[in-house]
Symmetry: D2
């Protein structure tokens, strides 16, 4: 924290601010320039800078960024690689996670899983709990949905990620899946984050719709500080004044996060764009900007999907996208699945 | 929902869209104008308009607003009055809720409660659970904090509101308090909202930091549709590009909500402004704009508060504010507590 | 400017940054704490902080706010009172400016001017040049419109303000009006601002739709630095994600500006709200928050107005609003026109 | 426009609304459904929908988008190719425009122009007029700067684009350059746009920092409706709550614009990112998302640039970026300059 005194601050005011900071247990370094005095302050934790701001003679309090420690590159300069089942996110290969918004029935899950594996996806996605903003919509299959997803993931030799909505669901998701997904609305559900800090499986942490990158990294810090070091960040769009797209997919968050943090980051162009025909351009943009992977909604029959149909790709569109990504990835020294994972089959 | 066809849409395209809508179970009214065809569509629930948007020949899909029913004035034209203990929010009197951000110790709670009662507050506020955006900050006293708050509220003859963070805390808050507070971060925690729909005490529902008014009313709908009709809305600031204030306190949400919904709305200028010297102007603005009340952070010694000190008022500032509000309220046909509630005292 | 070095910055890196700053002509004060080094930097003008940001070992560059000088309270602690004709804005009386969006014809201008004077307005507003966001809309009457406005203002004994769109219009507006209005879209038209710095009449400077308060004050600085010290700021709503209102009228900008700057500030609830039934609540809120006045669109027949009809008040609504404001103003130690200015009449 | 009546609207209210619309010269088609009546309305120009919104019994007025005509794909389905000197923007080749923020002196302009040509740029950029948000900063060289830029462009066989700030500068820019650039702050300077509609050279129209895509296309419409059909759109970042980047470069605007309009669109990652190390990722993202080109700030010695140094690339960085773009472009069926334009040389 840096306390900038007013140009007209009196010596008494400066001394009072220093005394107050010392009383709060801080270590203060005073630097008196020609026009004003600046106080450099070192502290533990996060002091309530607001209080200092209100003292007489204070011009403003500048907070030094990065109150997060474990999530920052300062703490750990080398990039983290997160293992999801047998898949490694954050390494040389950009990983594509794909699948339906929610599990609806066996045929839908199986067909979609097979299609995304053939196209080159390495992880299956799919939701079993779907609390929606209207109380009058489809709310998910629950545990039977997780079973369907696990069966399909095993058959297709894919890892599996599914969303955890509340603490009570942790054991269930942990039983069926290889990775927890924390949705945008839960990015600051600190109770949930704290529990996931004790879980033994990795976490895909989506950015809240109006969260700054700093807040997002602080949320990752909650998980890391509990002992779970396997966190993958996921950009999925922020809320802005623009209404032509549902959200504004913040592609620039990708290089910013790569610079500030050692954690991998993937892009979610499906939620970022909100409509099928915008998914491919935004997926290409995310990979070109340096994302460690993508998470994409694909449905065997999107026009009849029970949720998010408009933003789910047809399998053929997804195929085409994967081909485009294979051209782009080398531009940033990356590969994208050339050879699909072999299918394991039902009986194995 | 209104489907606007392209000016160049062919008859075959129009018929395909109509067929598709009918297949989805909708009732379609076609209106063919000189330049284009418009389809009026009636449905139950919320269809995935996005799918229709993608059909050939469709120019755009216009959603008719207000998917909420129970929260809307169309459903219930007369304004709702919510009872919190013996206090009525939404009537002729604008109600002021005040107290510390969090309960810290007996003396702090008692002194603050006494001060706000004397100034004219009718409800005591105070938190016992304080999950903060940094894992390294003060996290609240828990149940002992609720006990301190209840004792003080009883002694001062005030009703009590405190924040519920997760489903598991509902019985505890219900035991000690007269009203649940749902914080901005939980505005779309649909599991929690659904449970509160079955609770027997009223709910103060804060607006999410990036929630539209429509989403906020849909969240109220979750509670109402569970059978709990006692919901008070609370505006507390939205996230914008402006950095001079922590959030932008959206005063205009007050008249908009009064028009769209029958539910009472109060303003939270403490969080809206984020600094003590901005609280009074924003409190006055909220009442002048027609708010049914206010919720304000007051602390007996704000400079030493363990949380939100910078935005907590001194008791003397709060006194002065109440005097100003007494002048303003009649301008909108309202009163504000002229005679403080008599103290009940410790022994009674 | 404060340069915060990385916790792991080497001595060589620190010295390189210092050398670079000195080379750029700055005065550097070094303060070495336990965990990191902080450099306080004094300079003239606005250095390109971005360059420093990119040097090795730099954690971040914190800019000390308020590069504006003439507009700030540090420079001039006492509040400025601006004279518009015989009217004083920024004093004990909150001043109401009112009138039609644009001058349409003699009858409309005369009738509206008479109505707003009777209700207590002191300044007439009205536009003669109306470039609209669509090239296919009504574009204003031009100079004949200014003549109509001036005639009406004289007859009613009101001062007059009208918008100047470009440098070439300055002489015309100066001839007919008592005050220039600079619209939100021109807030950063620096060529225009510079010219107005040499004009001999006061300027009403609207905030740009996405301008921070700091940028707005910097725009005022352009005018002040040219020698024209008569600037009144005008808040008129900022662009946010909320769509229920056209813009979000940022009431909190009023106390923020009063704290940072000595210049008067008025609120424009008509543009801030965008619809007639929201104007009165927002006007009351602005005055309650401490605004030095208001600018309000009133039209003798708003449903037939050629522009902004939906947000223009009926004269009777405006009357009622003025009565409400007279109740509110004393709460902040202000008055609002109790006795309307006497009419001067046509013949005088 | 579609007028949605309230579910409880009476027949008299409906008839009054219809009568009012007819009186305003509109053609109304009534469609009465089970729950409510919907009115489809056809009109010329842009009626003030707000007035209708306020009539009794009206639930809401839904505006059918795309009031722009000439800029829309409905009007002209095939993509437009704009000629800038000998360069074609909007065709199979993605065009890179590069150069310094502002012309500073002959050496800087010549060296930078030579470097960007060798790397594959086809158009030189550079500013001569630099009104900045602070009145105390470098303001550009004026006409001598244009001369320097033209000389360098000729020598290197590049086309030239430079910013026009006001109407009076049009002849000057037209004399020296192949294309006018309209900056973000002037996107709604309708006087300037109208004049450019009569100019005989193409226009690069930047998006305003808080402009919706619809407003941006309406601004293009101003130019097109004046007869100048050569407009290239330029995305350069919008203002959001995120502060880690100066603006949020809205990559998704690229596919949205390609869908809505036939005009070419280029990305400006320099202003979008605001710092040099973020320019390459965002440039790659823009091309991957389908941009028709890029405009990038390059400076022979960016650390000593008089403006925008922090976001200007070193020539070597720009070289590397061009190599990356050559890999990406084929993914979207595009090429990027493989063979640099031959230099013309000073003497020819």
């Amino acid at each position: 924290m840096v306390v900038v005194m007013d140009e007209r601050a009196t010596e008494a005011q400066i001394e009072n601010v220093v005394a107050r900071l010392v009383e709060m247990g801080m270590d203060v370094h005073r630097s008196t320039g020609v026009t004003r005095t600046v106080l450099g302050v070192v502290w533990q934790g996060r002091p309530d800078a607001g209080i200092i701001q209100l003292l007489d003679g204070v011009h403003e309090v500048l907070r030094i960024s990065e109150p997060y420690k474990l999530a920052g590159r300062t703490f750990k300069p080398e990039s983290t690689v997160v293992k999801v089942g047998d898949v490694r996110i954050g390494g040389d290969e950009a990983i594509v996670i794909a699948g339906p918004c929610s599990a609806e029935n066996e045929k839908q899950v199986r067909t979609t899983a097979a299609a995304v594996r053939r196209a080159g996806a390495k992880v299956l996605r799919g939701g079993a709990f779907k609390p929606r903003s209207s109380p009058y919509s489809f709310q998910g299959l629950g545990e039977p949905g997780l079973q369907l997803l696990q069966d399909a993931a095993k058959a297709e030799n894919l890892a599996l990620v599914s969303e955890v909505m509340e603490i009570a669901q942790i054991p269930l998701i942990e039983k069926y899946c290889d990775m927890f997904q924390v949705g945008a609305r839960n990015m600051q559900n600190f109770g949930l984050l704290r529990e996931l800090g004790h879980a033994r499986k990795p976490v895909l942490l989506k950015r809240g719709i109006s969260a700054t990158i700093e807040e997002w990294l602080l949320s990752a810090e909650y998980i890391l500080s509990g002992g779970n070091t396997e966190v993958v960040l996921c950009e999925r769009g922020i809320r802005t004044f623009e209404t032509a797209t549902r959200n504004t997919f913040d592609v620039s968050a990708i290089p910013v996060v790569k610079k500030l943090s050692h954690l991998p980051i993937v892009g979610d162009p499906s939620h970022g764009a909100g409509r099928r025909d915008m998914v491919a351009p935004m997926a290409r943009a995310a990979v070109a900007a340096g994302a460690d992977g993508l998470i994409i909604e694909v449905h065997c029959d999107p026009d009849r999907a029970l949720s998010d149909g408009a933003q789910s790709m047809f399998p053929a569109q997804f195929d085409r996208l994967m081909a485009e990504l294979r051209i782009i990835a080398p531009a940033i020294g990356r590969s994208i699945c050339v050879e699909p994972t072999p299918r394991r089959g039902w009986g194995t």
